[in-house]
């Protein structure tokens, strides 16, 4: 689906290519141009939020591999963000490691713990697996809250002065470039995954795991691997967040169940199974509460001042409504919506 008429693939190479038509390459070029133009032309405030979106994207793409590709529901994303954040922050603040090794080690730790909590996938399916990841989230959350050693009894860890090699990363501008490159690489790796045997195996597991097993796919091993990858990426995102200027405070309140649900919602609203959908979902659901805040704040001086007092209630309610409405109206998410927009232009004046 989605490729213009008249485009035939004559070699395997062309078939596997990521972009098929000139129009697609132009769109890609435009996107790159916008990405480069952005940090010079928007306010620091919005640049900050863009950075947060990029951070969320990393974890969302990871979750998409687990949920969209392999069909395994995980409600523990927030917990693994926390694992990454606490590990990296611990290494930096208490052991004085530099940023890069801290983040890398944190990713590996998150991946290993993710593999451990993914072991139930060997025996459970669907709903029951979801419930076991829910239990994993609660357990991780509880440990963050009560294990005093994690924060040496300070309750929170605050990291300061992150630097890559010699350069101090002090401004949102510098962070933007770093995060753009990292997010871009993660995105590209995820798309590429679908072109490999491993990626196809994941999809086979999602579609019908018993048949996949019969075909020779080592289902158990790959399920745990999928968990490992997703949790590792979540940990990676969490570790980076621990160093990012605006979110330098590592506190257990950031890694609660509702955040896990937000990430699953990102995947669903973005479009299940679509990597770019994960990005759209991450952008939308990160931007939405912020937008509500701004909207409420702008009403401060008007007769609707009551709104700012009820902002948190509004955020919750709007998030819920958006989720419900999306699922009712466009269950295949933003990616499908975008696809329809593209198709409209591509096929015009025809309907289909």
């Amino acid at each position: 689906m989605g490729t213009a008429t008249g485009v035939f693939h004559t070699t395997y190479r062309k078939d596997l290519a990521l972009r098929h038509t000139k129009a697609e390459y132009i769109r890609l070029g435009l996107l790159a141009a916008v990405a480069v133009w952005l940090p010079f032309n928007i306010s620091t405030y919005w640049l900050g939020w863009t950075n947060i979106i990029l951070l969320a994207t990393i974890a969302a793409v990871g979750l998409n591999i687990l949920l969209g590709y392999t069909g395994l529901i995980s409600l523990a994303t927030a917990g693994f963000l926390g694992v990454g954040a606490y590990t990296a922050a611990n290494l930096k603040v208490f052991y004085h490691w530099p940023m890069v090794p801290s983040v890398l080690v944190a990713t590996v730790v998150a991946a290993l713990i993710g593999a451990f909590f993914g072991l139930p996938a060997l025996r459970l399916k669907g709903l029951y697996l979801a419930i076991s990841t829910f239990a994993a989230q609660e357990i991780l959350e509880e440990r963050f809250r009560s294990w005093k050693w994690l924060t040496r009894d300070q309750g929170t860890i605050v990291t300061t002065y992150p630097s890559v090699g010699e350069t101090r990363l002090d401004t949102k501008f510098e962070w933007y470039w770093l995060l753009l490159v990292i997010a871009g690489l993660v995105f590209w790796a995820s798309i590429n995954l679908f072109r490999t045997g491993l990626g196809r195996a994941f999809v086979a597991i999602r579609d019908q795991d018993i048949a996949a097993e019969v075909m020779g796919v080592p289902v158990g091993r790959y399920k745990v691997l999928a968990f490992s990858i997703a949790c590792g990426l979540a940990g990676f995102s969490g570790a980076l967040q621990a160093f990012y200027i605006d979110t330098q405070v590592v506190t257990w309140e950031n890694y609660q169940l509702d955040k896990s649900f937000t990430f699953v919602a990102m995947i669903i609203i973005g479009g299940l199974g679509s990597v770019s959908g994960a990005v759209y979902g991450a952008a939308f659901l990160t931007w939405l509460p912020n937008y509500i805040n701004q909207f409420g704040a702008s009403l401060q001086t008007s007769s609707f001042a009551i709104v700012i007092r009820k902002l948190s209630a509004l955020q919750l309610a709007v998030f819920g409504l958006v989720l419900v409405v999306f699922l009712l109206v466009e269950p295949r998410g933003l990616a499908r919506l975008w696809q329809r927009i593209k198709d409209y232009f591509r096929l015009w004046p025809f309907r289909y």
Partner: protein, 297 residues
């Protein structure tokens, strides 16, 4: 019989049973929905506080006498359940289970936001129609009367529901739908009506659980919705589709939490139920009383 250790144990037991009773009533709603419609309702906690808040609203703000207020609460629970089923869940028939779960999650968030917006973050002193005076049981063991009432009311509700399923026409119809929707339809059972009934009963049960919980907690506040998280260990232990299972599961989890909170630590009281949940999922995923499903390719 005034040995402080024995007193401690007995007090914990009574409190554990009371909490377990409320858990069982709340989990009952959860199980009802799953049994009839195979939907996992993540908004059960919000149904709980909505029912409780409506009772508060009716009694304190509208000045109704408490039996009327309770009726309002239960009525709004029923209304909420039916509304959700009709407006939202009916359109999700046939969608993947993940989508349905996420719809209930979205619903939970929307309801939580609405509750927060209407009644605010502060807990309120609620109508005190459930007596909460201290009652001396045995020797030195004193508990609030509201806990005994919780056990009593929950028992009545659970027995009533059990009888409903065994004897009444609608109850048997619900079991039929849970067993095999198509066969039930063939028999002439209005499956849509049964779905609505299941959600309505669930809303009512949640409202009752909410009122009991608010009485024990001493306030009608939004933090009560967190209590519903423990429903998961209860239903996994008891079996997602067994009423008897929720009773047994509720009692076990309620006692387990109280004992571990006092004898080990507060952390343990959170870790143990969830670790137990994972263990049970690995060993007996359908719980003690649940129906074993056979998966076909």
């Amino acid at each position: 019989m005034s040995d402080p250790e024995v007193t401690r144990f007995l007090t914990l037991t009574v409190n554990g049973l009371a909490n377990g009773a409320i858990l069982a009533v709340t989990a009952l709603g959860f199980v009802l929905i799953y049994k009839a419609t195979e939907v996992i309702n993540f908004a059960q906690g919000q149904f709980l506080i909505f029912g409780a808040f409506m009772v508060y609203q009716a009694e304190k703000e509208w000045g109704l006498p408490w039996p009327a207020a309770v009726a309002v609460g239960i009525g709004s629970g029923i209304f909420l359940g039916v509304a959700v089923e009709r407006l939202i869940l009916r359109r999700m028939i046939g969608e993947s289970p993940l989508s349905v779960i996420m719809v209930t999650v979205g619903l939970a968030s929307a309801l939580a936001g609405a509750a927060l917006g209407i009644w605010g973050a502060e807990g309120r002193r609620g109508p005190a129609f459930i007596p909460s005076k201290s009652v001396n049981l045995v020797g030195d063991v004193s508990v609030g009367a509201n806990r005994l009432w919780a056990v009593g009311v929950a028992t009545v509700v659970l027995i009533a529901v059990g009888l409903f399923f065994q004897k009444s026409r609608h109850g048997i119809a619900m079991r039929a739908v849970a067993d095999d929707q198509q066969a039930a339809m063939v028999q002439g059972i209005n499956v849509n009506r049964i779905f609505a009934m299941a959600w309505a009963l669930s809303g009512a049960a949640a409202a009752i659980g909410g009122v009991l919980l608010a009485s024990i907690a001493g306030s009608y506040g939004i933090e009560l919705q967190g209590f519903a998280l423990l429903v998961f260990p209860v239903v996994i232990l008891g079996g997602l589709d067994s009423v008897l299972g929720t009773v047994v599961g509720g009692i076990i989890v309620g006692l387990l939490v109280e004992y571990s909170k006092s004898y080990i630590s507060v952390s343990a009281s959170v870790l143990i139920p969830f670790a137990a949940l994972v263990a049970i999922l690995l060993v007996k995923p359908y719980g003690l009383f649940g129906q074993v499903r056979i998966e076909r390719v």
